[in-house]
Amino acid sequence: MHRSQSLRAGLVSLVILAVFLTVWHLATRGTGATAGMDPEYAKLMGLTATQGKSAMPGPLDVAATLWGHLSDPFYVRGTNDMGIGIQIGWSIARVAAGYLLAVLVAIPVGFLIGMSPLMSRALDPFIQIMKPISPLAWMPLALYTIKDSGLSAIFVIFICSLWPMLINTAFGVANVRKEWLNVARTLEVGTFRRAFQVILPAAAPTILTGMRISIGIAWLVIVAAEMLVGGTGIGYFVWNEWNNLSITNVITAILVIGLVGMVLDQALARVARLVTFPE
């Protein structure tokens, strides 16, 4: 029953994909040379107009480009011409650095806030103000103070990953079931053991939800951040290919961004499943 349902769902997914690709293919197919066009305008528009070729690449063009990129992802032919694998690698490395820094700050501080109602109320106004700031708004300040574009991108990732993790950790820790804490109290469990063997496992599912939200936001933000700072990374690659008017490359990059984002999310979902306990 369950298996046949997932089989059917997979089938429907394939059908939707096929319909989408067909429509895309038909919509971008050449329309034939256009006669009667103002020659000046035709010259301006180049091949698009004169040979009836659509400006949008079709699925076959994208597939060919994607194959090209995937078969040689790590080449370096100068600062502006590197394989998509290298660009993605830069982005992942920046996200990883900023994200791990955020984990190191958010989880201990979140613990503190969750355990202490005083700290919770004291820090609340700061969190409330900092949380809604778009991470990119920090960019000029980061560039000015850090004076390094790569580090600034990492800082922006750090800032945007921080809040969901901090808030979820504090919430998870503050809402550990009273009865579990009472068990620890009646057993005279020490502070350290209580934190690591009662509160942490009890709050872990909530903390991981925060971590999963954070990695999603971080991956959204890195593309925008790299468009701003330039140099390397998948965001820069997209911007660069736009400047080259290579829409095929842009679409390919979009696909790759989506795939990597999905992998990151699924990896954290798997960890979350490990620490979730049924009640």
Binding site: N182, R185, T186, Q197
Partner: protein, 306 residues
């Protein structure tokens, strides 16, 4: 009573702030000694403060007035000497049965080797009849099995005092009966001092040596203490065949139905909170063992050792 009681509740009260700078008194001036090896049940209507009393005994809550003396020392917080069996079993869901019990054992003897800790945990899991389920998680257990794990966890630290808050109220009658048998057997075998809260009159009759009756709240007090006239060797199945059974049961029911309210509004004449009346219902007309300030009833009481 020459022997010093193991637990002595001395004039405790619990008050909560109420709107308008007032306070509500849940109960006050509660006095109760509990002897070593005794099984005491507390009965009273919902909201009269039974759980609060138990939490104070456990050290999870502090009284607004008075204090609780255990073994000659006023308690100042939770202690491994006083194990609690929670109404909601309160197992850690991310740990297995063995993990839950071993967590308690490890808390009691932190320096013990892992094998010795697991050995002790297994012994008590076996004792409550859960041998073979050590690797299961609480979510895989039935309500009765979870409560057994809670009992094993509490007993595994070999506490001086066992505190139970309606431990069986969420279970079906059959499971409840079996668990009552087990708890009674274990407590008798080990001479465990036990304080238990219950709503179930028959449970109290079967398990308790003495039954403490609380009046309704707010402002609850101990109305009287009922001594169980049934012999120590009693079985759950033919409890009702005992000549004193109905006298005892009627006395308790009568208290819950009417006197728990009337005694709050109008305390009995000469009611002394330090020495609430001790009653021993029996098939013969009710026997009042001691009523302070009322010497007339004492000739009957002379038959007892008080």
């Amino acid at each position: 009573m020459t022997e010093k009681p193991l637990i002595s509740i001395e004039g405790i009260a619990r008050r909560y702030p109420a709107p308008g700078r007032q306070t509500t008194t849940i109960f006050e001036n509660l006095w109760l000694p509990i002897r070593r090896g005794e099984f005491v049940c507390m009965i009273g209507h919902s909201g009269c403060g039974k759980t609060t009393v138990l939490n104070i005994l456990a050290g999870l809550d502090a009284p607004s007035d008075g204090e609780v003396i255990v073994d000659g020392k006023a308690i100042s917080g939770p202690s491994l000497d006083r194990a609690v069996i929670f109404q909601s079993h309160a197992l850690l869901p991310w740990r297995t049965v063995l993990g839950n019990v071993a967590f308690a054992v490890k808390s009691r003897w932190p320096k013990r080797a892992k094998e010795a800790i697991e050995e002790q945990a297994r012994r008590f899991i076996e004792l409550v009849g859960l041998g073979g389920s050590e690797r299961k998680r609480p979510a895989e257990l039935s309500g009765g099995m979870k409560q057994r794990v809670g009992i094993a966890r509490a007993l595994s630290i070999e506490p001086k005092i066992l505190l139970m808050d309606e431990p069986f109220s969420a279970l079906d009658a059959l499971t409840r009966g079996t668990l009552q048998d087990e708890v009674r057997r274990i407590c008798l075998d080990t001479g465990q001092t036990t304080f238990m809260i219950t709503h179930d009159v028959d449970e109290a009759i079967y398990l308790a040596d003495r039954i403490v009756l609380m009046t309704n709240g707010p402002g609850a007090r101990i109305a009287e203490i009922v001594e169980n006239p049934l012999p120590r060797e009693r079985s759950r199945i033919d409890l009702h065949r005992h000549p004193h059974y109905y006298a005892l049961r009627n006395h308790l029911i009568d208290f819950l139905v009417t006197r728990s309210r009337t005694l709050r509004d109008q305390p009995a004449d000469g009611h002394d909170p330090r020495h609430p009346p001790v009653v021993r219902p029996s098939a013969a007309p009710e026997l009042v063992v001691t009523t302070p300030g009322d010497a007339a009833t004492l000739p009957l009481a002379a038959a007892h050792k008080h």
